[in-house]
Subunit: 374 residues, 4 copies
């Protein structure tokens, strides 16, 4: 098989799906290659928080990008529902980043000021305010940063909506096809070698999450990325216990549509092993109960884990291979893959179309980074 595509995307997760969708909207003929099932790894494991303000500091190079990406969700929700029928279950009821200690409280109050100065909405809730906003949260909380615009979506539905919308626009998707190598001629990409043959294209975008690094080595790129396991569990409630997403150091509670709360996530570096440990679950239950004692009475649903791609400096990689024209990379989203997927799609489509942007320089592949885990 030797078809010609305008672009081949390696990876059928939420990042690959978003890029495919954007390229297809621009009239490109696109092929997506996924080595297993679509959205079968981190994309489906994510809790779907859009914590642009909660997760990042205002001076982080990713901050502006993350906020811009978050802002794309309301329009995207409508667009994807229309093109694919899939509801991404966007919930826009805000996030509470809570303080369990006075020190954390001071830190959050500082963070609020900086973000307000940057023109973003955030406010301090006292313990009394919290009791009014979320009466079932623990009394011991010292206060919280309330972020009205950090919403959440269904990660699996978002990934599905991207790929179904892409398919509606003509994108071809092949599951269970693994890319083994790249084809190049004189420093220019010409296609990929896969487990079922070769496919030709002058543009190949690697969006393989934590698995990207191994593939890229074949093209002579040695990106510093770490696979970081995150374990989660979910519970089912009758009437909702919380309305907003609750975020604290080491534990978040995301109230999903239909009565589910997702509790996440541990941070276990340097492993691709997707098994869930008793240790991880015990820690999460303990932390969740400290935030929301009423969770003890809910129904256990299930556990899972995902492997997230972390980089040496915490920033994703967006860029073209310096020595191989047409080979693009979008990985290293760590815990923000869902949040960053809309902007990543647009950005990578721009790159493929030759519209690079100075703004992205912080994410270029050849920046100098150090491993963060030994």
């Amino acid at each position: 098989m030797n078809s010609v595509y305008d672009a081949i995307i390696v990876g059928g997760g939420v990042i690959g799906g978003s890029i495919a969708f954007q390229l297809a909207k621009r009239g490109k003929r696109v092929l997506v290659l996924e080595k297993d099932r679509l959205a079968g790894k981190a994309s489906s494991a994510a809790a779907g928080m859009l914590g642009a303000q909660a997760e990042l500091e205002a001076d982080d190079p990713l901050f502006t990008l993350a906020n811009r990406s978050r802002g794309m969700f309301p329009a995207l929700e409508k667009e994807l529902k229309e093109s694919s029928g899939v509801d991404i279950e966007l919930v826009n009821k805000g996030m509470l980043k809570v303080a369990l200690t006075n020190e954390q409280a001071a830190g959050l109050q500082n963070k609020i000021k900086t973000q307000q100065a940057a023109g973003l909405e955030a406010e301090w809730l006292t313990a009394a305010d919290i009791r009014k906003a979320e009466p079932l949260l623990a009394n011991a909380l010292k206060g919280a940063m309330y972020i009205p615009h950090d919403g959440q979506v269904s990660a699996a539905k978002l990934a599905l909506a991207f790929t179904k919308s892409a398919e509606e626009l003509g994108v071809e998707i092949k599951e269970f096809v693994e890319v083994c190598d790249f084809l190049t001629e004189n420093g220019v990409i010409t296609g990929v070698v896969t487990t079922v043959g070769e496919f030709s294209s002058e543009n190949v975008i690697v969006a393989g999450g934590a698995w990207s690094a191994f593939l890229l080595e074949k093209a002579g790129i040695n990106l510093v990325t770490h696979p970081v396991k995150g374990e989660c569990f979910s519970v089912l409630t009758n009437r909702p216990l919380i309305e907003k997403t609750i975020f604290s150091d080491g534990c978040y509670l995301v109230p999903k549509i239909g009565g589910r709360i997702i509790v996440g996530a541990t941070v276990k570096p340097n492993t691709f092993n997707q098994q869930v440990s008793i240790d991880g679950i015990a820690t999460l239950i303990e932390k969740a109960t400290r935030l929301l004692p009423a969770i003890k009475g809910t129904e256990w649903e299930k556990t899972w884990a995902g492997i997230r791609p972390q980089t040496g400096d915490g920033l994703p990689y967006f860029g073209e291979h310096p020595a191989c024209k047409g080979l693009f990379i979008a990985t290293g989203h760590f815990r923000n893959g869902i949040l960053l997927s809309p902007i990543t799609g647009v950005l990578m489509a721009d790159m493929v179309e030759g519209k690079p942007n100075q703004e992205w320089s912080a994410f270029r592949l050849d920046r100098s980074v150090q491993p963060i885990f030994s």
Copy 2:
């Protein structure tokens, strides 16, 4: 436990959920008792077709009711999404009731005329028209009745949306609680006896689907109902093969959001056994392939079965026990439980509030019916 409720609903399926939702909207304090999990039986097994015109003849006493219920879905979709967050996945792309023989074609053309005379939209598609509207359908089709307003929803999502919305309005729901008997005083209901104690109310509504009859026998009502098993399977497609629901004698194909097609359903009377037989699957595959040859290339997903409550004359039972004031029944929806759930909720809430309606006389409990299966 001995609380007082304005109404107790026995059955946590789509009918019980709809009634609970309507009663709660009217300010009633409601308790729903479900012997297993919510929507665990026929409500989740249904394909979700809203075939008011496809399934019924214009002179059927249910016809007007069914069309009115179908008409409630667009507003309900918004209302339920707002109150519960749940998208019921209403798809309004119409239905094709196809003819495989000239005889069927003549019958359908007749049906179209009668329905047009009754003021409803329906039109005849020739084989050539079909090829334009649904190019992958079999060439052998003789034509089809096109019904633009017979849509479809996700049955499981609809049931979830009803119960979540009801809970938001204060309805109490208990799963794994089985009603063993009724409490009455001088021909007036006063409550129910369950596996975990008694609950008091002056209104008890039995909405237990095929399981209703056994419970009602305890109250001296001998309704003629038959449990009828329907077996289904589903496939997954990449790009959609069909846009509209395809309906033929003994087989329908319902294209769901996200790339799934539900193929249903067999009709196996007089059993509560929810096992799926090889025979049933073989028959469905054969019929589905005759309608849509391209289905052969799709991915197998899964099988399931549901037990639907059929009555002796094919009409549901809506009414109050003639000898027990306050004991209401809503069952016998057979293959139209999803379609009829909105109107059933309103109707039963009216009855509980003492607003009976002449229109419902065809469905009263004491009408004379004969068993249809021996």
Copy 3:
């Protein structure tokens, strides 16, 4: 349908299966009626401990019976494997009933003496002995009662082996058939009424576990039984962490074949709700970790719950209805249903054949018992 059977067994769990197997071996024509799937409730939820000495005191009327039943397993393992092919996964490596406090230690040492006096094997292990026998157990243990003959089986496999062996011997089994009422004539049973019609027999044995009581009420028997939920979870290990079953107050660890450890079980009375709570899981993880710290590193597998039938005095009911000849009952096995299933099968077969036994008088239906839970 109106066939004549020598006996009808109501309940397709491990007790019903054992009775069916024994009756079939004696040449009886037997029908088993199960309202859902075979062994779908407590029989499959059990951890399969055969804790005759661990669970019971020497002066308990059940003690002798339990030890006799335990002794039947080795022969049964061979017999069932031969007739059904199913391996019940009997593991005979003993049990450690551990002491976490000095008080528990004293109690166990006493228990050992009493049991030794009764001629049974049991011995005291010091903390040092434990470290030799099970090096990964917690250092804090004060000692343990070692019971070499309290083994364990796969509960689900045992139930399957009974029913498959029974079927090989000609027993007829119907799933998804619920018994609604009994047929009697002049105080003699003549059959049962079910959701799919009547079945005739002069012997009906109710073996419905926690669900037996509601059925029996119809026959005028008011047994004092309580449904008691037990929640469990399981983990997967590579090399085994423990060899013997570890038993302590409120938590046991059962090392199953193939690398699974079952951790159980909570005790939540008066509910038929089979949902697992976060609370229950948190408690079990805490207790399991206190016994076996290394369990923290294992892989989470799953959770489940079962509803066990407890009686007012803790003893099962074995007997014939005093006012209805031919109606037999075998229920109330609480946490010992797996252990007691072999002897229950023999005992009930004896009763049906009119061979009552003075020994069973402690378990007769008309003894006086008080509710233990309010």
Copy 4:
């Protein structure tokens, strides 16, 4: 991580497990690396037939090997049960290779003669004989080759028994670790590079099934192998419909312990896609029903698919890399991986220990083979 092992086995399926078990029995320190879950691919998908005589012709170089491997199962069953507790569910009730046409009948009669001449047991059953042996088989069968010693096992249990037994003997197993490359020095293997670091050993055995080829390319070996998908489904029966395995062109029926019949398997070359198609299921149902009409009344259980490694000449590859000392390969077992696993384990352990054997020359890596699928 940089430990030293006597051997590293790449692949945790039934072949890797058998090799690990044999090496461990010889006192070797072994590491097994599996990129996903143990036995997660073809090993668990297999129906477990031991069709040494049914699948192969007497003049096939594999014939003797296959019969020797089959003969190892009874002893292996006991050995594995003892060391791991796992019952591999060996059923030794023979196989019927049936003829649907007179031509097939003639072919089978010929096959019987050849095999009898080779000293193996096999006999011709007439249609009447078949009716006695397996009364529910179709009347239309022309006769069958009865092979008393072609038994069957549970493939998943066999794989589990190998790895658990290996672990008991000290073998270390790592799941979710993918081998990316080999380490060599002067044409001698020194270890492997994986997704979580390097591991050292002077012996590396690749047993990765259909996935082996891609890995081996890195070591400069270009084996002609094809991934061939096989789709299956299973049904559940009450009393057994058949006792023996039924084998025909394009369809087999394997009656498993506990009431399951596995129906397999399609042959779809050149794909790693493990999805099951409607087409495949439809074909299997049709063929199964032609052999065993009564299967129509059984209960549908589930479907699955596995990817089997086929080679250009149909023979497996057993051998050492001609240019890289210490790098061994065992793959290409196609539909006979379960059957050949015992002998493969012994053979590869011999090779690692430097005990090559003239007998294996037919399977050496450098033989000349042609692709069979274009």
